[in-house]
Subunit: 366 residues, 4 copies
């Protein structure tokens, strides 16, 4: 293949275009992935709205993807030291080039805050090469972390979890959800649905999903929510309902995956004294939130915790969960639409309008 | 003694009056304390301004106090099982009647949120008996936790630490300050000064105190601040100064002891990515604070943690620190004024006007 | 009822006798429980063998029990403040009189190490009253913590979990088992079986149960073990099998519930570098264990953690798990035999011989 | 310089020889360090006794060293991104080539257990180049983490802390020492002395050093021990003395830095219920230790924690401590002897015989 067809986001608000990119020459340790599925994520909507800083437009969107290794040079191994081979079905950690040499990598040990990190589909430009998933092939630069899709995991189920799943893995871990935790999940988009599932697999109960529309609340129940509350209900009534389910106290843990600033404030109302609100949904700047530090934080002895990005371990756990503890959950019911590369604008519109929970780009059809 | 003279706060905004209260008959396990010193704390100013809910006025203020055991009935022991005797110099945990039988006491194990807790000088009324420190004697009801002032600790130094010290012990512990932590302390009143001292004893560096006036910043340096920044400097410049001292990143830990809602927001600006802001100063409702959950929490991977009240362990540690690690610090320099019971109104006014850091009620003079 | 029939353990190695005890006069806050079931636990075997120190024989064994409130005086409330009424089906925290006033209760905050704690069925003597479960009625002294058996929880299922379940709740919590943890459980008696169930409900995988005989391993699989290894297999082969299931590394967490000292050493062989071995099974002195601190601890960067006793929160969680997350598990299949008070010696013999996993004393039959 | 003189450990038990090694050609990102000081550590004694596995003799010993950059190629930066220049005074993380791609690096996030890590002076052979400190120059391969010796830190003080200091930083951090912790340090060699200092800087009290001979206990007191107990005292008496200093309970934290297996067992006797024993001293296989899992672990609710190796963050903190919190401690009093390259055998003998606490190799004299 001498060129690669890709859907290119030229600039914010400008229609996505199909372009042909030259296939890169592979250095040792590099590989090309033939794209099976690439996700259309809320982040892509943000990208198209110009809500993220530092994006080197034009870019090829698509950060979480799955595909087969089309070609590789030299030896590329997994974390067990097993070499990958052509034809292997894999995904990859979209975060690349965390430097391993800065304060964040070496002292605070939070690689998600490494200033040198690059993210496929977001912070690589078209000029850098085919480094986004909305393309026939994706260039795995040397050092990109590939992960095998385990036997028994249908790739459609992995991509259905996708970016929301790895984000939720990080959120649920940092929130400290464990057996017996009572949990509210604010928001029933991809992150919220995955957080519901993971809370359930962690032994939390009750798990109260708050969001809308009703079809998403139905899905939330199939993913593990024990109770759902609709946004049609006034916020005060929702708070009363949460208290009624928790001895009047509020829940141990709130996971905010709604994306609007007011959700953070509401989270502080729904958590019990000494509980924790994990903020995972404020991925872009939605403006300020108000809160009362006396009533909602100091006196409550509460914790409000931000959660940014993900690392290899979250992809690792995500695959384990799909293959094992969570194998019976209906992950792929969250996918409502599939689009070809040529339909990337429609895909984006569908997600932006919330008409679908999640859409996929399927370059070669199914 | 058949009656006890006490300074009584009749109601918010009403001048404090001297009253004679009958000496209670001691049940077994009870004691009377002859008051040596009782603190005039910012809380007393709040009480007089009517800023706390559920206060059964009229009350005898004074929650942290020190005195000699005047009389006792039956056996009252310390945590080592050693009986107290008349004449012993002691303080006591002002928090009483945490029930040991509710969800907070038994399941979440945060007795500071027990709904049944009573606090000497705050939530007991005059009708309940002499249960506040601004009095000649204080009634130690059965079950009140008495603590010996260790040999070598001048009681004036204990009361100089007082309520601010035990609050700061809790805050520094919950903030996780440890060897090598970089710390900002917002506010240089009693809680802030104690937090500065404790951070220093914990091996933190740098310790940047932010507040005013200059005399308090001078004191902060003597207590262990390695740097001070005045409120006369614009907030943005202070943020730049903190960054200049921390490789451009902000500090590991901010301890908010300033008491104004904007301090919480500023704290989120001063902390590094992945750092922690401990909110200890929002003891009363100062209104809402604004913050940007995207920039200041989610993307920063930061933690914002409320800290309410204290328990026995914090008094225990406070006495240890005064006797041992912190014995060379100038705790008592923070006390700028002493007042008789009859001067309680002047004492309150002095603290309210911030003319003094801390004032004492000294019923029997010195 | 003017007297209460009880099975009394007169002294170690001496047959248990039936005795009539006077019914105590109830002080305010006290209650009498009509015993529905009382457990025959491994501890009772230890008691009869004289393996525990400080036991005031003669005693009435039976620490975990369930029954109906026969009578009560004054007001006795649950942690929500709801009063109990005659006829309520309850269990109770067998640990009583933690003092709330010692170093362990107030400073280290580990009430399981309070020197003043008393345990029903173990550290109360017959002379103290009917304070053990192997009796028609059990005296709930004022302050004993009663817990309602939730609607929908068959009491047979609670007692089937019993002491092993609350011990395992503590162990799994202290071990930090969470979604994705790989776990070995050493021992498939009551504690081990409950630990297996709780690990599964916490999202652990794989969960490898090691023990015997085969019938217990079968039960372990129904409780949630994903793999079982028999003691018939040499220890080295078991270690190889565990490594084969964990990429050659060993598991994240080992829970020792076997009760023989060599299990601790084996646990250190089965855990991965940086993993944790939680020791819950060394309830009595089985003699010393050998280990190599270089290879098995220092170089492994491993943690070996002891877990003693339980508190109210563990009973609380146990009831929640039975009512909710774990409602579909076959808890009561672990009960192999029921005995009348008169058959207490047979009950003890059955447990001692490991002929049954768990036996019950059922004073009034079923 | 076309060749580099180095002290080469040919094989265990064989006298060290002086050899001339060719100066390597520097690839981009590499540097040569002109050795100012290199440490003679207990590890070097172990190496010469053949007590470590997998060592590619002949080797150049010397893992912690300090020197000036003699030459460099391309750009080498510190963690702040500041380039190093010739003449800079630096040390370096002796651990190299942690892979960033294995289970330990990516999932358990404990790079000290990365199987690919190499250690200067230990796991590099002479054939690999001048990769040990007992040489005129040390080859900094690309990717080696260099750290500046901060202004105001005399390099002799850094090397005096040396390997023991970074090991102790890790140990004290993993042990969770904090303000008010009571601590026993077992062993008063380089690791123990540094642990004593760091515990003091962390606000621990009391700090009880146990070891010998008396000259080392004197040094321990100058480093911050509040009490010392000699090995001349029987172990039981030492245990009594520790209890007498801790209300009969034992200490919160024991740091084992003694290196003999029995110290681990003793540590479990000296720690309070619920306390923690951190094992840092079992760096080589000294054989098995006995302990009683019932009395010393399960019933005590205690934690026994192994601590292996160190990473960049520990070097970072060590330099901060020397420059700041610990600048007034007599670090360099621990150095009793300095040797030329030609005297490497004498240096080793002096450390092996415990005649000195620490010896230095000083290739160019002082």
């Amino acid at each position: 293949m001498t060129s690669i067809r890709a859907a290119v986001m030229v600039a914010p608000h400008v229609p996505i275009e199909l372009r042909e990119l030259p296939t890169p020459a592979l250095e040792s340790g590099a590989a090309m992935l033939r794209t099976l599925y690439s996700e259309v994520c809320g982040t892509d909507v943000h990208l198209h709205a110009g809500r993220l800083g530092g994006v080197p437009y034009p870019i090829i969107p698509g950060h979480v993807s799955v595909g087969h290794i089309e070609s590789l040079r030299g030896t590329v191994t997994d974390i067990e030291g097993q070499p990958f081979r052509e034809g292997d079905l894999v995904t990859f950690l979209d975060v690349h080039e965390t430097c391993g040499a800065c304060y964040e990598c070496l002292v605070t040990k939070q690689t998600t805050r490494c200033a040198h990190r690059k993210v496929y589909g977001i912070t690589y430009g078209v000029a850098d090469g085919p480094l986004g998933g909305w393309a026939e092939q994706i260039w795995m630069k040397p050092g990109v972390k590939l992960l095998r899709i385990p036997e028994g995991v249908d790739p459609i189920r992995f991509i259905a979890g996708g970016c929301g799943l790895v984000t939720a893995i990080h959120a649920v871990e940092r929130a400290g959800v464990r057996l017996g935790s009572s949990v509210v999940v604010l928001g029933v988009g991809p992150v919220g649905q995955a957080a519901i599932a993971l809370a359930g697999l962690s032994g939390a109960a009750p798990i109260i999903a708050i969001g809308g529309p009703d079809s998403r609340l139905d899905f939330a129940r199939r993913m593990g929510a024990t109770h759902t509350l609709s946004l049609d209900m006034p916020a005060d009534d929702r708070a009363l309902a949460v208290r009624a389910l928790t001895g009047g106290r509020g829940v141990d843990i709130v996971i905010e995956a709604a994306g609007v600033p007011t959700a953070v404030t509401q989270g502080l109302d729904l958590v019990r004294d000494g509980g924790r609100v994990l903020v995972a949904g404020q991925y872009t700047d939605g403006g300020p939130a108000d809160f009362n530090p006396h009533h909602q934080l100091n006196r409550k002895h509460a914790e409000l915790i931000g959660c940014w990005g993900c690392d290899y371990s979250h992809f690792h756990r995500a695959l384990q969960v799909l293959a094992d503890q969570g194998r019976d959950l209906p992950w792929d019911e969250g996918i409502s639409a599939r689009f070809s590369l040529a339909q990337a604008n429609e895909a984006l519109a569908a997600v932006a309008s919330r008409a679908v929970v999640k859409a996929l780009i399927v370059p070669y059809g199914e």
